[in-house]
Symmetry: C2
Subunit: 383 residues, 2 copies
């Protein structure tokens, strides 16, 4: 970690700024490797969007990542990574941009869950002179997109892909997004098994119809950390586990002490009659994600901790945000105003790491319990 | 408007992308000028963060803008604008960066609502060798920060500022943020009057104590558009009126037809059993602002319209978002799936223009009812 920051510590950096706790991140990465071993992990880099973070996750590996935008695919491919799964349903209008990557040597996998779209993708790939490697997207929990594993359309779609000269059927994929609504180990383990069983069922159906199905891919941070049986799977995907956040703490797959990202903010006002502490981290700095709203503990827009985070001593949470204002209120009892003078600093743990990080161009890297900035790691955003 | 886009139309631009309707914007700018005339308008440029948009708002004027970050102050000063109000409570740690601007010739105004903070600001200004021009921030509606106009602290603070050699008392300022909770003309007019009367009361109290109060500044888009009496004010501030959004439509100060920004998105999936249309604009592309949640019409995460927006024919709204997925559901009746094939495009009107725009580096400028991209206007983000 080479120091590149102009500010030496979190007491000096211009606020709001995004902080990354290196030690906590390394521990989270190790935990996931242990939980998913020996199955290959295909990390979802939409959370970090950073080559520096990818290096810490991937070690010596250069293949097998997941991205959520073609811009991420271009960035990580340029940075030396390959075998890239684009984890959002592919549309014909994006084929030209993807084809440019494929022609440069990128090995890409794309998602499809619709026969007529597969035909259109086949035509687009053909006119670009490339072959598109496709996974059939499955729906194993009613969360979002995909075909249910027993749907006759799985075979219809598999057959159609196999028939298109510019398409190649690589396998099946599912994402147990509904695991975010759970918060006890037994339900999480059951959800992981439901995800696994659904993916394996669809794979078996394809193979029984003599269709190829090399890849059987599942994942979400909660199910990846909770599953006990991995039979029939070829890989697990997860992203937010690297940073963790308050949503994951509520689900029960991490502790607040495991949260890697925080926003360093300055106290800019005392509204004593209301019991509000004003800070310079608002809706843009924290995001307006209210992912904890319907969870066991509602953290508002984030949980405020002391600057050094040597331990996590939450006393305040973000009750409301405007564009550049955060309004903090006490969790228990009255605010000790003298502990938070105007100009003093706090670090706010995010509800949803992926959303909060997206407001920033860089991570300020610190060691646990220390406010010295060890490095500044750039990240990308946008499309 | 010089064409700089690589894509010629909204049918070709890579999605998701941010669209700006030039004609609607010009009409909104004109409406506000007419409503606030003859009082000077000090536009809040935190919404647009764009020199191109500022040019359309400011015309030949070069002085009198509001910003929400020092980065915006630097950007607009560099772009030729001056007399810049930083509309967020000032803290001592930000004085050094502000001083650099002041030394380059920037005329800046800062907010303060606390005596001990004023002392600290005075010390910081003195050690930077500059004078800080301050406005006392008032609270006329219990919304956020500031002193209530009748609070004895207003005079204590005014006296303290006047006494500090490196501070200069310029006046008072308030922002009727609670106007966002209203939705009928009579309540909005009453709120505008409450904002005005509170600011004038504080100004009168300062002047009665022989303290200077040159500036009496009020504003919010709803009150700026709703106030009928402006007596005693020296300026009005407003920001989102330039773009408008679904929150403002719910408040009643614009129509959905007046909304300037939209996100062009591609249909990426049909989830027919659920009645969901999947698009490639999710939480990052739209923001997770749920500002319409408690308003007369809850638009979810946005309102989908047809691509050309020749008229606004809403049929679908954004029911839920994940990072890069939007889930659209019908407002009335079943979805006409054939009207929205995979690969087709929609434009989504945002709940909150300031939040949605912040995910993008540029505006794609079109004329009303036309999908041709006339220009690409860059914007800034971050701190």
């Amino acid at each position: 970690m080479a120091t590149e920051s102009t500010a030496a510590t979190l007491s000096e950096v211009f606020t709001p700024a995004l902080v990354l706790d290196y030690d906590r991140m390394k521990a989270n990465i190790q935990t996931m490797v242990e939980r998913t071993d020996p199955l290959p992990l295909r990390p979802h880099l939409k959370t970090c969007k950073s080559l520096d973070v990818a290096r810490e996750i991937m070690g010596n590996r250069r293949e097998g990542i997941t991205v959520s935008t073609l811009k991420e695919a271009e960035y990580f491919f340029e940075g030396g990574y390959n075998d890239i799964l684009y984890g959002v349903g592919m549309s014909p209008g994006k084929v030209a941009r993807a084809a440019a990557l494929v022609r440069e040597g990128a090995v890409m996998r794309f998602l499809v869950d619709d026969v007529s779209n597969a035909v259109a993708l086949g035509q687009a790939a053909q006119s670009e002179g490339i072959t598109l490697d496709l996974l059939i997207e499955l729906d194993t929990d009613g969360h979002r997109s995909g075909l249910v594993p027993g749907d006759p359309q799985v075979l219809t779609l598999g057959t159609q892909i196999d028939r298109e000269p510019a398409l190649r059927l690589m396998g099946v994929l599912t994402h147990a997004g509904e695991s975010y609504t759970l918060n006890d180990p037994a339900s999480l383990e059951a959800m992981a098994e439901q995800e696994r069983a659904g993916a394996v069922l669809a794979a078996d159906r394809l193979r029984s119809a003599d269709l190829p199905c090399e890849i059987v891919s599942v994942g979400s941070t909660p199910t990846a950390l909770s599953g006990t049986t991995r039979e029939g799977l070829t890989e697990i995907r997860a992203g937010v586990y690297v940073f963790q956040d308050l949503v994951q703490a509520n689900i029960g797959v991490c502790r607040p002490e495991d949260i890697v990202l925080s926003v360093v903010t300055t106290v800019i006002g005392h509204k004593k009659d209301r019991g509000w502490l004003l800070v310079d981290a608002g809706g843009l700095a924290l995001s307006k994600d209210r992912g904890t709203a319907n969870q066991p503990v509602d953290y508002g827009y984030g949980l405020a901790t002391q600057l050094d985070q040597r331990e996590i001593r939450p006393r305040l949470q973000v009750r409301d945000v405007n564009q550049e204002h955060g309004i903090l209120a006490s969790i228990e009892g009255p605010i000790d105003w003298e502990a938070y003078p105007i100009g003093s600093r706090l670090r706010i743990l995010p509800n949803h790491a992926c959303m909060t990080a997206a407001a920033y161009e860089a991570y300020h890297v610190v060691r646990t319990g220390n406010t010295r900035i060890e490095a500044v790691w750039p990240r990308i955003n946008g499309w």
